[in-house]
């Protein structure tokens, strides 16, 4: 049953995206692209780019994937499933706030998770790059320019995405 599987996959991803929405990228790539083949690598990267130019959380890319798999129902199910775990945890933890923050084990857990998140993001970046920009020096150059704008000049991600789209369009003409 596709719908149930969709809910389970996105629910699982929603429960482990420590460190913000971007952390979904390695998980979605592994599950949705490589394991289930619901999306091609290209569609997956485009889904992330579209999520980036849409207001709201990046995780809204789940809507794209759900729609691709099972139409409007799939879009609703994937979107709700991906946000449900953190919704429940946040509301439950809002009561326990102070205790949770002072617990050294909880702090230690996060200190251990974040290095893994960095590693997974690097692997995801390399995997995406190898299937898209690896063999075109102009696109690699665009990656470097975008990275400098994002990290050094703290340009908003929306502008970088739109600007890169326009640059790619002009390069190809």
């Amino acid at each position: 049953m596709n719908l149930l599987r969709l809910a389970l996959v996105f629910g699982k991803i929603g429960a482990v995206v420590f460190g913000g929405g971007f952390v979904m990228i390695p998980f979605i790539q592994r599950e949705v692209v490589q394991h289930y083949g619901w999306l091609t690598q290209q569609q997956f990267v485009d889904a992330i780019a579209l999520g980036q130019i849409t207001p709201g959380p990046i995780l809204i890319s789940a809507t794209f994937i759900g729609y691709k798999v099972q139409g409007l129902t799939g879009a609703v199910v994937a979107t709700l499933a991906v946000f449900l775990p953190s919704f429940l945890m946040t509301a439950l933890a809002a009561r326990q706030m102070m205790r949770l923050r002072r617990n050294p084990r909880v702090a230690g857990f996060i200190r251990g998770v974040l290095p893994a998140v960095v590693a997974m993001l690097l692997v995801a970046a390399i995997t995406i790059a190898r299937s898209t920009v690896w063999f075109d020096w102009r696109l690699l150059f665009l990656v470097v320019v975008s990275l400098i704008l994002l990290v050094r000049y703290k340009v908003d991600a929306v502008y970088v995405v739109v600007g890169s789209g326009i640059a790619g369009f002009l390069l190809e003409r």
Binding site: P57, D136, A157
Partner: protein
């Protein structure tokens, strides 16, 4: 509805419809992490529904828990102001604009994404996505890889991820290592 007045958690709490309207606005005008800024402006600066300290608590909580930071903070705000109903309402109101816009873009993409004139634009988007993922890795790495132990953990995780380890197991295992070995000790509390 009379029940609405009964569940009010504190006297200064906004009505559910006002809360929903503010969250719709945040969802429609904030992008990614930018939503946190819009949220703070609306909830703390403009309306004083929460104090700066209460809001900062929500932000700290969101950093501890999985999920997008801004969504977690919005749920926290909703819960603090109006309990479970407020939390649910905030989540849904925050997502409705993004969902509608993303759905429109998805349908347009699946219909027109193959138009040859747009190929170049999508190639450009690929480059932006690679740069974005790297920039997030850099940002999280800079703030979290502060000790040799954490750097080694990152290297082990890097090798494991390259070798196609199960990512859920990987994240939880690294968290466990952290809880056992990296937790702050009372004697080493000073940074």
């Amino acid at each position: 509805m009379s029940a609405e007045a009964a569940v009010t958690l504190n006297p200064g709490a906004p009505s559910l419809s006002r809360l929903a309207r503010v969250m719709l606005k945040v969802g429609a005008t904030g992008f990614g992490m930018g939503m946190v800024g819009v949220l703070q402006q609306e909830v703390v600066t403009r309306r004083s529904w929460l104090t700066q300290e209460e809001f900062a608590d929500g932000l700290a909580l969101a950093n501890l828990l999985p999920g997008p930071i801004a969504v977690d903070v919005a749920v926290y705000v909703g819960y603090r102001l109006r309990g479970w109903i407020g939390a649910t309402l905030c989540l849904l109101a925050l997502l409705v604009p993004a969902f509608a816009i993303m759905l429109g873009l998805t349908i347009a993409y699946l219909h027109y994404g193959q138009v040859p004139q747009l190929h170049g634009a999508f190639k450009g988007l690929n480059a932006a996505v690679v740069a974005l993922v790297l920039s997030v890795a850099y940002r999280i790495g800079k703030s979290s890889l502060k000790s040799a132990a954490q750097a080694s953990l990152a290297l082990v995780a890097l090798a494991a991820a390259f070798l196609h380890a199960n990512l859920v197991v990987l994240v939880l295992a690294c968290g466990l290592v952290g809880a056992l070995l990296l937790h702050p000790r009372p004697e080493a509390a000073t940074p």
